[in-house]
Symmetry: C2
Amino acid sequence: MILLEENTNYTEILKREGMKSTRHRNAILLLLEQSEHPITAEELYISLKGKTATINLSTVYRTLDTFASKNLVIKSTMDDGKARYELNHHEHKHHLFCVGCHKVISIEDCPMGELQESLKKKIDFDVTGHKLEIYGYCHNCKKG
Amino acid sequence: MILLEENTNYTEILKREGMKSTRHRNAILLLLEQSEHPITAEELYISLKGKTATINLSTVYRTLDTFASKNLVIKSTMDDGKARYELNHHEHKHHLFCVGCHKVISIEDCPMGELQESLKKKIDFDVTGHKLEIYGYCHNCKKG
DNA sequence: ATTCATGCAAATTATTTGCAGCTTC
DNA sequence: GAAGCTGCAAATAATTTGCATGAAT
């Protein structure tokens, strides 16, 4: 589990994971770090095309897959059929999706702790991870 | 929110939702009811081809979409890129995905209750729904 | 120098759509 | 008989892959 802090040297992190440090990889890590919410491969690609000379969508996908396999990023596939990627910060976070304005709010609360223990005891299931997405109305979008 | 019980007449349910009762729709509802865990469109299609004379994959997708729009079924898209569908039973369930044998175990525990209240109080966010998927190793697949 | 990363184009996979014919109400 | 289903084939959309070239160690 890697903790990326501001001003972290990406080359270090990449090296530590046995990956070469390239312009694209550094750029992708930077963008992921700057984004407050999970982002699609295509969104990354579009941002990158503006900044980096050339980059190919395949490269974005390949890079994200590699990062995901090293647990540097977390991939979540939404019901719109597109996967979103976010940095795997050390702190465990979940996201509130406002169904009114589509804003995404990150929270640090996670209710899994007790459930995890209970599953272990009740049915001998060892939890290794989970995905929780919460939908609802934010302060501004409340009905009424 | 519709509760489907054993021996429910699907025609009734379909009519109530303003949908015509057809052989395919009934067959799909039956299969969904018989399946203990969320199932892909293709899995449904394959099962149906064995039983019903002919059915087309498009029809399966269209039917599932229609059902989902009436809240008869719940669609969840997984990281393997395939959507799974399940009946929207009144009881709220979650699923454990074994990363060893890919078995799916349904549980009725849900840890959202307190978090929901706390989000309401802390940041005035009204939760209307959530998705929780849990990954790990089942009894048979435990490492070691 | 060797190993790994990338661009490009083409392939794959899941899902959607247009339209003509066929069931339900 | 009108409105709504369904099959079929073709279109999309997201993601993956093969291969030749280019860059990092």
